[in-house]
């Protein structure tokens, strides 16, 4: 049975609750099967125990719709484009010129806001010209988080962080964490549903000591009372019993408190580790705080997958576009660049780390009457890792940032090819991570998978 299937919801059996000793035929059969499974797993248990370093995953979301012409899909300002107004004269000098960067042995232009990511070009795969098929924020967010077309604005699939956690988690205390962002779990067990934080500062409330704690002895008795308390509602509960879920959560809280990892998130502390983090991240603003928290969640082993909203405020429809769009992108990329640097400390080649950077859609190639850019279909996604071939897959139309068809093997423009969709990107990423790409209903771009991880 695949890992994905093993981690999928199994309500049958879990919901059984007996109020007295009860050993029916089904229980006997289950017991025998359980025994057989134990017997079968016995010899390989030491192997499982050795494989404790799971793959780590971070998804960084830039909210509001980013201007890909300033980021992952720029144009050379010396060229002329009939459908694109680069707005160069409105931008500060440092945001006018994209920079050539070598990716996978080929030179590609990177937007002028992405300087902080250039040291990590050796890990980068860009997908360009992705058809988001909507210019509605809500719909596009659900689509971009899950890689599956939503029903209206309602997500139908699983967040990519949920999938990554379900595939790779090896029993971490907070397998899937979402910071300032919604997370969806439709197909996997509850334990892979994201622990949501409204802002990154809340991590210290979640993993820190109990507030208003009773004395140690009474806390112990309270815990025992909750263990012993009989729930009247359980017999009708479908899925894992509420008392079981609460017991698991209490146990995890106790372990978190025993490990005393909260100090690893006290970014103002005067310790060597925190001094290093403050030197690396722009910790004074929310971008640095969210990415530093994401990195620490992975580095401490608390989480396997983290999804974080790194920066908002990119929905620049008016004249503020010229100043706010590039400066906010720079802030976001500096924080993400710092996080990648930090994560490369213990995984230099990202053999066990993947970072995805995305936004709900792009912005129009033409500048509107108010001096800003509106919403645009042709989006990009950036992935830093070792499971995909480095380079650029796909393309938007050179002249007007429109959608074009690309060859699924080379990623180059090809009229006989396909129009790239979020489903293609997610199916490819999920397959490379060792998950099941079938829910995306598009074939993964196999030629771009450098290696497939084993869950």
């Amino acid at each position: 049975m695949s890992k994905r299937n093993r981690n999928k919801l199994h309500s049958a059996g879990l919901g059984k609750h007996q109020c007295g000793p009860h050993l029916d035929r089904r229980a006997l059969l289950q017991g025998a099967l359980g025994g057989a499974a134990m017997y079968a797993l016995w010899p390989i248990r030491p192997l499982l125990a050795q494989d404790s370093d799971g793959h780590r995953f971070v998804a960084c979301f830039l909210e509001g719709g980013w201007d890909v012409l300033l980021a992952a899909d720029p144009r050379d300002p010396s060229g002329s484009y009939e459908g694109i107004d680069l707005g160069t004269d409105r931008l500060a000098a440092e945001f006018r010129d994209p920079r050539p960067v070598s990716m996978g042995g080929t030179e590609h232009l990177w937007g002028p806001t992405m300087l902080a990511l250039e040291p990590h070009a050796d890990l980068a795969t860009f997908f360009r010209g992705i058809n988001m098929n909507t210019v509605s924020h809500d719909t596009a967010r659900s689509y971009s988080h899950t890689g599956r077309q939503p029903a209206g604005a309602l997500a139908r699939g699983d967040s990519i962080g949920t999938v990554a956690a379900a595939v790779h988690d090896k029993g971490s205390l907070l397998p899937n964490t979402a910071i300032s962002i919604p997370s969806f779990n439709r197909d996997f067990d509850n334990r892979f549903s994201a622990i949501r934080m409204n802002n990154p500062r809340e991590i210290r409330d979640l993993i820190g000591p109990t507030r208003n704690a009773l004395s140690e002895g009474v806390e112990g008795l309270l815990n025992q009372a909750l263990e012993d308390a009989y729930s009247c509602v359980s017999p009708a509960y479908s899925g894992r019993l509420p008392e079981d879920e609460l017991r698991i959560s209490r146990d995890r809280i106790r372990k978190l408190q025993e490990q005393d990892v909260v100090a690893r998130f006290d970014f103002n502390a005067d310790t060597p580790e925190m001094n290093e983090i403050r030197a690396l991240y722009p910790i004074g603003d929310s971008t640095g705080l969210s990415t530093a928290t994401a990195a620490q969640l992975l580095r401490t082993g608390l989480s396997t997958a983290v999804t974080t909203r790194v920066r908002g405020g990119l929905d620049t429809h008016r004249g503020e576009w010229a100043v706010q769009q590039p400066t906010r992108l720079v802030e976001a990329f500096e924080a993400i660049g710092a996080m990648i640097t930090h994560l490369r400390d213990d995984d230099p080649n990202f053999e066990r780390t993947t970072v995805m950077v995305y936004s709900e859609f792009a912005r129009t190639p033409k500048i509107n009457g108010d001096g800003g850019r509106d919403h645009w279909f042709a989006d990009s996604v950036m992935i830093f890792g070792s499971t995909l071939k480095t380079g650029v897959f796909g393309s938007s139309n050179e002249q007007d940032l429109g959608l074009i068809s690309v060859n699924t093997t080379t990623g180059l423009p090809d009229e006989a090819g396909v129009q790239l969709k979020p489903e293609h990107v997610m199916a490819t990423l999920v397959q490379s991570l060792g998950g099941d790409p079938s829910p995306y209903r598009e074939d993964p771009l196999s030629a771009w998978i450098e290696k497939e991880l084993t869950p």
Binding site: G34, A153, P242, I253
Partner: protein
């Protein structure tokens, strides 16, 4: 596979372990629940038990303890309140985050509720210690402790318990009295904290957190 003595022994041990595991999963006291045990698969989605939403939890805590949780608004989104911009679905997972924050909230409100009751001379307006007569000592072994526990079970869980030996009261008696000597004059010193613990436990019980 070669069927050796070692393999046979291992197989036998596995089967014994599995039966032991099943034996431990049931309630050994043989409590006879008068209701029919419902197979989860038979329960329609709309009738399945659900965790309280964030706002339901805040309101339930305020009604049960008579105290507002000061940090409720701060943690509302983390506890699952949708913003109806990006998140349109109520979060109802019994997650680590929910268990931790609900625990913090329950402890804060329960401590305050017991303090409030202690300073309150009118039994009818007390919330947690309504059936306790001797408010000076709060003796965990006092004769009215059982009556107060039954009142609290009704208040928090809507369960009307008539007998003091009902098993549903037992964990709370233990929480109140365990480790204390009924003959020790100093036993009442922990009374206030023990009652706060009982209140906290009732507020973190699945019967309080689900409907």
């Amino acid at each position: 596979m070669i069927w050796t003595k070692r393999v046979t022994a291992r197989f036998a041990a596995a089967i014994v372990c599995s039966f032991l595991a099943f034996g431990c999963s049931g309630k050994s006291e043989g409590y006879a629940d008068p209701r029919r045990i419902v197979d989860p698969e038979e329960v329609p989605e709309t009738k399945r038990i659900r965790r309280l939403t964030a706002d339901q939890f805040f309101a339930a805590l305020a009604v049960a303890t008579g105290q507002q949780w000061d940090d409720a608004e701060q943690f509302a989104a983390t506890l699952g309140r949708p913003d109806f911009a990006e998140v349109t679905v109520e979060g109802r997972e019994m997650s680590v985050g929910f268990a931790k924050l609900a625990g913090d909230g329950a402890r804060e409100t329960c401590r305050r509720a017991v303090e409030f009751d202690r300073d309150n001379g009118d039994p009818a307006s007390r919330v947690i210690l309504r059936r306790i007569n001797d408010m000076d000592s709060l003796d965990p072994f006092a004769t009215d402790v059982g009556e107060n526990l039954r009142y609290l079970l009704l208040r928090f869980h809507g369960v009307y318990v008539t007998a003091e030996d009902d098993r549903r009261l037992q964990p709370w008696f233990t929480l109140l009295q365990d480790g204390l000597d009924p003959n020790d004059p100093g036993r009442a010193a922990q009374g206030e904290e023990r009652w706060a613990a009982v209140c906290t436990g009732l507020a973190l019980h699945p019967d309080f957190l689900t409907y």
